[in-house]
Amino acid sequence: MSHMKELTKGIFRENPTFIIMLGMCPTLGVTTQVFNAFGMGASVLFVLLGSNIFISALRKVIPDSIRIPAYIVVIASFVTIVEMVLHAFVPAVFNALGVYLPLIVVNCIILGRAEAFANKNTVLDSALDAVGMGIGFTLALSLIAAIREIIGNGTITLFNLSETQRFVITIPGLSESPVRVLTLAAGALLVMGYLKAFFTWNSERRAARGGRV
């Protein structure tokens, strides 16, 4: 039962993006299309899973004083693997994510989970924590991307590998006269501000009722 809790806490109660507010840069940078959000979420999930397992397994070997550099090297290795795999097999995703892909190295979620969770817990718990956090991150990214793409462009891109291999839902009415600003930089910050306010309101309302937050 407690294992299950490690998995689900990252999805809602401790959602990395909306509650702990970690890893903001890629969150806002790549969420212009839902498909990019999936790509980013999957990459982060993989890196997080790999680094959490590795760091948790090595937690008794790594000396305390140099743990941060050691974590960074582990994380950077996994990011390099993701970069090479995406470059070789799905170049469309590689190009869409651009500079934000290597920047996963400095994504606070991954180092944060290594420091706060993986170096104190068993391999199984760390892996579950990573999967939960990764899914929570992907869901948050998809939510932001969906809002921005629907209102800003009138479409939902679920799949976009090339001109022929794509699956885009077009929303009638909105796609003719979209609110363009939401796909631009300013829109990302505005959407994030309103969503954060919504989640604050939501958790306060639950706390006031006396329920579990």
């Binding site: 903001m24 840069c25 500079v99 290597p102 930089a185 300013a186 919504f198």
Partner: protein, 197 residues
């Protein structure tokens, strides 16, 4: 592109915070008062400028000759981590007050996307060493500009009635969004019009 063109590009047109969203964590975390915002901005500017040059040198003179370009991400982050450690020691020695003000955010420069971001962008854009230096300097200055503007806005916001749920981070994001809207006025056609391309 001329050096002035590079500076205008990274300070205004591709402003690291408001257009590329790099370095948002310290931007939201440290921008509560203008004094620490200035300190943070200066620390980041120094690190981005030096890191740009050092990463360029590592890439060109160490990784390329040995065909190790795929180690770019790992080597850059290690170079940056070492640099930040050095800056931290210098600031602690020179100005304990500033060191106190920046607190936990100084080690966090390592995980500031802006520093690694500009190092990678320099390589992607194919800048030479001097151009990399100016790009790094300009990226840091753009960060400083945005964080100082933001800290002034937030000092004003403290005395303004804001709805309870919007207080703190949400209103900071919305203010940043409105600032980004203003920065959209800087467009790459600016460079063409000034004959800087």
């Amino acid at each position: 592109m001329s050096y002035i063109g590079i500076i205008i590009t990274y300070v205004f047109i591709q402003n690291f915070i408001l257009v590329q969203f790099m370095g948002l964590c310290p931007f939201i975390g440290v921008s509560k008062n203008s004094e620490s915002a200035v300190g943070m901005g200066m620390a980041v500017t120094f690190v981005t400028a030096v890191a740009s040059v050092v990463c360029y040198a590592v890439y060109t003179y160490l990784l390329v000759p040995f065909g190790l370009e795929y180690l770019e991400t790992i080597s850059f982050i290690l170079v940056i981590a070492a640099l930040v450690q050095m800056v931290e020691m210098v600031i602690r020695k020179m100005s304990p007050a500033l060191y106190k003000a920046l607190g936990i955010f100084l080690p966090l420069i390592t995980t500031n996307c802006a520093v690694l971001g500009i190092a990678i962008i320099n390589i992607d854009e194919g800048y030479n060493m001097l151009e990399s230096f100016f790009a790094g300097l300009a990226a840091g200055l753009g960060f400083t500009l945005a964080i100082i503007l933001m800290s002034n806005i937030r000092e004003k916001l403290d005395t303004t009635p804001v709805r309870k749920v919007f207080r703190g981070v949400p209103i900071a994001f919305i203010s940043a969004g409105l600032m980004a809207l203003a920065f959209m006025g800087f467009d790459s056609s600016l460079l063409t019009n000034l004959h800087l391309v």
